[in-house]
Each structure stands twice: as C-alpha cells, then as structure tokens.
Assembly symmetry: C3
C-alpha cells in the first residue's frame, strides 16, 4: 500500500520520504523491512528508529525522525485502523476445502472460505466474506451475516443467528442447551430448550466461551460487545451493546446486562436480575441483586466500590485493635 | 401425533375439539400452526389463545378457552414429557457419514447416527440409538450404553465408560489426565494417570466441561446428575446421584459430593473432603472442609448460610459505627 | 521388560524371584497378571499381595512378601519413572491418517503420528516423535519441538512455538487473540493481536485451557510448568519455570508469575503485576498488587495467609459478641 493512500485513510500528515510502500504492520520489536509501526512516545520513537520499520505512526508533537513519520491524533487508534484495512484486503478469496461436509441445501455467499473438516448442516446460510476455519460444526438452520469469522473448532447449535462482522475464537460453543430442569418425585427432568441465540453486529467472543440458547425465547448479545475467554452466558440472558466482559465471568439465566457495562474477570451474576447501563464491576464480584445505571461495584456479594473498600478497612482496623476491643467487652461483662 | 394419544400419555383430560393432530411443540411466542404449547396461568393462556397453537396444556383450574385444552396437574412437566416423546420418535435412524474414521474393531449398536469427521478408535462399543455428532473423538476401549448423545467436538479419552441416556454437550472432555505430580530435587514429575471415568445413567454435562480420569482408580458421576457448562471435575472425584451443579464449579481431587447436592455457580471444593447428601451451596462458595448432610452453606470459606449472613450484617454495622468504635478504643487507651 | 533391567533403572534392589517379566504398570485395584504396582505402606502391600500383580515397588523398610519386591527410596517416584519408560517405548511409530489435511510445505520429523481429521497449515514444522491426535488444527508457521503430544481437538493459532516434550490436553487453545480494545467516540475497536505464544520444555496444559498470544510481544510459559484444566492465560503474560497452577485460574494481561509459584484453583490475578518466586497462593484468591518472593497468600483481595485467617477470626469473634459491642456503642451515645 502506498504511504499516501494510508495517510489519507487515517487522516495523518506525512513527514519525510512519502515515496514508500507499506508491506505489513507490526510491533517495534518484531518489525521487518517494509513494515509500518507506531510510537506513542519519544522512547518508542527511538526504538522504532533503530528497527527495520520504514514508517512510524506518531503523535502530532513528537520530534522529527530519520524514518518517515505519519503524524496523527491517536497513533494506537490509527495503527489499528490501518491494520484492519490491510487485514481485510488480504482475506477471503472463495475457497472450500474438499474435506468439508456441506449439505446440499446450504447457501454460501461470495468470497467465503471454508477450511478442512468443517461440517455445515441443512439450510444453513453463510453470508459474503465469511471465514469458517478447520473443524467448525454448524448445525442446521443457522444464519450467518457478512464478514463473520469462525476460528477452528467452533460449534453453532441449530437455529443460531450471527449478524455481521462477528468473530468467534476457537472452541466457542453457541446455542448449547440451557440448564433447565424440573424436579418431580425425586427425579430430575430436562426441560426442553427450544429457543435460539442471536448475536448482533461486531461482537467478538473469546476462546472456549459458551453461550446457551434460550429455553423458549432467545439469548441475545448486543452489537459491539466483547466477551473474553471461558465465559458462560446462560439461557435467555440479554447482553446490551458495547459490553466488555473479561475472562471467566458467568451470567446466570435470564439476567439482563445493560449497554456499556464493563466487567472484570471471574464475575458471577445470579439469575433473573438486571444490571443497568454503564455499570463497572470489579473482579471476582458476586452480583445477587439489581444494579442501577452508572454504579461502580465490587465484592462478593457486590456493593458500591467505596462501601466495599470501607468494610475492608474497618475489618483491618478491628484486627489491629482486636486486643483493645476484646478487653473492653470483658470489662463490661456484657454478653 | 393424535391429541388423544398425547392426553393418555400425560394423564390429562381434553376439553374442546379432540380431533386435532399435534405436529410439534413450542413456546407461546414462537408457536406455529399445529403446535402444542403450555400455559401455567391465565395471562399465558390469553397469549396462547391469540397464537397459532392448536392445543394448550394448562392447569386443572384455569378458565375455559377457544383452543383445545389438555388439563393436567403440572403443565410444565407434562410439556417436557410430551416433548421427550416427540423428540425420541424423530431421532436416530442408522447413519454413518462417509468421512467418519471408525476402526474395524468398533462395535456399533442399532440405529446409531455418526456424523462427519468423527473418529472412533479400536475396541470402542457404541450402544443402540446413540448419536455421535460432528468432530467427536472417541479413543480406544470406550464403552457407550444406549441412547447416548454426544454433541459436536466432544472428546472421550481411552477406557471411558458412559452408561445409558447420557448427553454430553459440545466441547466436553471426559477422561483427560488428572493433575498429579511428584516433586523430586527441584523437578516436577507427572504421576501416571491410569484410571478411568464412569458416568452413570441419565447424566447431562454442559458445554466445555472437563472431567479428569482417576489417577489409579476411577472418577464417577452418579445417575441423574446434571452438570452445567465449564465445570471442572478432578481425578477420583465421586459425584452422587441427582446432583445439580451450576456453571464454572470446580471440584478438586478425590472429593466426594453426596446425593441430591445442589450447587450454584463458581463454587470451589478443595481436595479430599466429603460433602454430605442434600447439601445446598450458594454461588462462589469455597468449601475447605467436610460438610454434614442437609446443610445449607455459603461464602468463601463456606459456613452455614445463616452464619455467613450474620457476619456480613455485623461487618456492615461495624462500618456504619466505625467512628464510635474508634472513639471508644481511643478513650480507653488500651492496645 | 525384564525385572532386572527395571531395578537398575530405578536404583532398586530385588527381593524374591528375579526371573519375572513386567508387561504393564497399574494401580493395585486394577492390576492384571504381569503388572507392576507400588505400595507406600503395609496396608497397600497387603492389598498388592492378594492382587494379580507380579511385582511390587515398595519402601526399603517394609516387610517381606510373597510377591517379588523392588525396594526403593520413593516407590511412587520409582513407579512414575518406570511408567514413563514403558510409555515412551510404546509410542510413536510414523503414521499419518489419510484424512489428515497437511499442507505441502509442512515439515514432519521422524516417528510422527498424525490422527484422523487433523489440519496442518503452511510452513508448520513438527519435530520428531510428535503425536497429533484427532481433530487438532495447527495454523500456519507453528513450530513444534520433539516429543510433543497434542490430544484431540487442540488448536494452535499461527506462529505458536512449542519447545520439547509438551503435552496439551484436549480442547486446549494456544494463541487466540488477546482481549485488547481501544475506545473511540463510543465505539470499541479491536487492537490487532500480532504477537505469539512460546511454551518451553516439559510444560503440560490441562483440558480446555486457553492461552492468548501477545498483542505485540509474546506470551511465555516457562519450562516444567504445569497448568490444570480451564485456566485462562491472557496476552503477554510471563509464567516462570516449574509453576503449578490448579484448575480455573485466570491471569490477566502482561502479569508475571515467578518460578516455582504454586496456585490453588480459581485464583484471579489482575493485569500488569508481578508475583515473585516461590509464592504459594490459596484457592479463590484475588491478587490485585505485586507479591514478594516466598510469600504465602490467600483471600480476595489476597493478603498473607496469617493475616487473612486473623481477619476471619476477628469477624467471627465480633459476630459472637455483637450484642455486647452494640450495647457499648449505645451506652456511649457516640456516633
């Protein structure tokens, strides 16, 4: 890609030789000849100068350099925009590996890549520019929009709906049966899980995360949300837009997570509650009731961060002053 | 299915047109013409009446309706019984996908379905009416009883024994090596894991759950138990009958979980302890000692629920009254 | 194997018939004729004597027996050394299943076994004596050293480096994208994940564990470390040598775990901190700051074990004496 073309794309200004071609993007440590990299500060710019990179994205105020610079407001953001353009250009010529088992009734869009040992069952629709990597299994009646990317060994149960530009990392399971049972006279009966999962645009889901389908209705993941590895999303959960969920979180059945919620790792949310919009949740929290919009919570059970920290401080204080407290109680003789 | 046949099966009484055929079952929201649904209360019955459903399972006391009703004691239970009968009828004609790699010595029962890219190694026995979906790997000497259902990408390590009517969801791993090491002069040596896993009748296991095989003896999951997604069952664990384990729980080596135990999500149980029968365990509990029958416990470390709640209340109280407590200590001058 | 050969290997002394051949190793409960087993105490020796085993590894001080004994310092350690020798002898004749999809540019070492439905992409190098079981997917440019064993359905993303004698259990994902996003004007953009994962000699990783690749640099697992099932290792984490990590732990981005750290289950470590060498960490701990060498910590948030236990004791005491404390506050009338 011509450097001028790139500068236009990321709204940057070139400083130095503008007659340079970019062949790839990389971090400073691994840059090869022809690579573009980025430097957020002067130190990084110094490292970039002694690397093989030909061009550096940097801030509007950094010093001049022996390398060609493109000055932008946010070099990190510009780097990722550039990366995405490069990556998109490289992907997805039409290809179906001969070992793939694809039912006759499957409809494939344009520029779809399907790798070895993939299974796609009856009545599945795969949108344009999809990439389905090795070992994925897509059960019947699933619908995938455009630019979806399933990494190896992903499984979609029947009737799953993926909208556009969704990325599922390896081992993700979407649409598995919810954990719904009915007890009757000492026996446990499985309640049929007849619902589906709908995943909206630009969602990315981390490796080995599992998302159960609705029991009668549907499980929803809102547009732009990002879920990390090894999370568990139970049946009928509704996750809003632009939610960030770190690894190993678990959301129990039918709970609702508002837009823009941010969740650290290993959080647990019980069933049938609502977490408002813009809530931020500390690591390992256990949430056992509804949470209002804009709250910042932490702890198990979770309270406002300020309250949780105060309680911890008081317990530390009481431990330090245990002898004194103990003496007072003894003197008073009260019980 | 004839409605009369169905009513007989679920011990219900028909009210209205009994000359109706049921083609499928569904929730009220998604009901299509010919479907059977269920309504636990009058509101739901109202919704069912304006849906396309032809027949509604409802209580003995609900009002009359324009739809054909079948009155039963527990409509939800009746619905699932009806569903299971329908589902069983539809499943399992004999079928082996040509891409499946099945060793010559494998014994397949009647009406077994084996999907694409399955691998089954030497001396495996698969019982009647089994369904082995795409990408499953069954290592040598495994024995599967009747009506087992392995969803896509399940792995059974060698010598695993599944009894009858077992459901393993996608990505379940059964029989992986336990976490057993011996330290000697600064090095860590793996202790050989030579045991097996035995899973008894009617167990269902959620997506991406892992169950390690015994180191020398065996890991057991008792009849009727249900384990949710992303749980970890270590080597030599014994899980009783009709245990309910929610998502992301972990049971360390050689611990014993009694019959009818109910466990919320993200519970941890240390190694070599025994949890009695009928114990109920709150979410995120950490269990570090034996628990008696019929206890209700919560917390990390786990105590009786009442005790844990009292401790939380006292800490809240102390936090509210911190200034007063602090003043008393200061006045006394004790340390 | 001749018993004399074995005794030499494990530095043991034979007592009884030394004209015996060992055909396999097993635990006492499952011993068959020709098997070697081990007995750490007199009780176990008694059980071994009534089993079909032909030879028993036991301590230097245990009583004489009707079975052939090999006396060693540590029977358990001797057993595993013997097992490993047996196991190695049995493994890995060269074999590639015809269904495997292996790119032309792949380089395979000597005595490599590749099972059904494996995919190996361009420019992968597989070292001698590797075992790649059914359904594994190895993306382009991965390098595997000697004696690596990938159990079924493992996925390696592109550029992953495995050194020698590495065991990955089923469902392990190595090299998935890290959880790195940049927010800009309400939108969440994925930051490109261009780094790699390097796993050093003799590492073993449990079923369904996920290890993300570095965002720009690399994620490292040090030699001899053992990671249990369902753990999450985020991008750019550095794990030292001989670390023991029990199941369901999660390490957030760029954190460093020192050599010989031991971690119980369900521990969470936040991002960008350093845990020193030889630290031992209790189950369900939440670690939110740097930890010095040789510390023993527990709790969420984690403190020194002694401190955490003291706090628990004080809270129990305060709960028992709540009425007294409450009375004193009321009498004083302070607030």
């Amino acid at each position: 890609m011509k450097i001028k073309e790139l500068a236009l794309l990321i709204e940057g200004t070139i400083e130095g030789d503008d007659n340079v071609d970019i062949t790839d993007l990389s971090g400073i440590e691994t840059a090869r000849l022809g690579d573009l990299t980025f430097a957020m500060d002067e130190d990084k710019l110094g490292l970039a100068e002694i690397s093989q990179t030909v061009c550096v994205l940097t801030t509007k105020t950094s010093r001049r350099s022996t390398k060609t610079l493109i000055r932008v407001n946010n070099p990190k953001l510009a780097f990722l925009i550039a990366y995405n353009v490069f990556h998109e250009k490289l992907s997805a010529e039409s290809f179906v590996h001969p070992s793939a088992a694809i039912a006759d009734s499957v409809i494939l869009g344009k520029n779809v890549r399907i790798d070895a040992h993939v299974s796609i069952e009856d009545n599945v629709v795969i949108g344009d520019h999809a990439t389905i990597e090795g070992g994925c299994v897509i059960k019947k009646n699933c619908k995938l929009g455009e630019h979806c990317h399933l990494h190896p060994n992903v499984v979609l149960y029947e009737n799953t709906i993926l909208k556009n530009r969704i990325v599922l990392h390896s081992g993700v399971i979407v649409g598995s049966d919810g954990f719904g049972y009915v007890r009757d006279r000492g026996e446990i009966y499985k309640f049929p899980q007849l619902g589906i999962v709908v995943i909206e645009d630009r969602v990315e889901i981390g490796a080995n995360t599992t998302i159960d389908r609705g029991s009668l209705g549907c499980t929803m993941i809102g547009a732009g949300s990002k879920i990390d590895n090894l999370c568990h999303i139970a049946h009928n959960v509704k996750i809003g837009k632009n939610v960030i969920m770190a690894a190993q979180c678990g959301i129990a059945g039918s709970s609702v997570i508002g837009d823009n919620v941010t969740m650290s790792g290993q959080v647990a949310v019980i069933d049938n509650i609502t977490i408002g919009q813009n809530v931020s949740i500390g690591g390992q929290s256990g949430i056992i009731g509804n949470i209002e919009d804009n709250a910042a919570i932490w702890g198990s059970p979770a309270r406002e961060v300020k309250q949780t920290k105060k309680q911890m401080a008081v317990l530390s204080w009481a431990t330090k002053n245990f002898n004194a407290l103990s003496k007072i109680i003894k003197e008073k003789g009260v019980t």
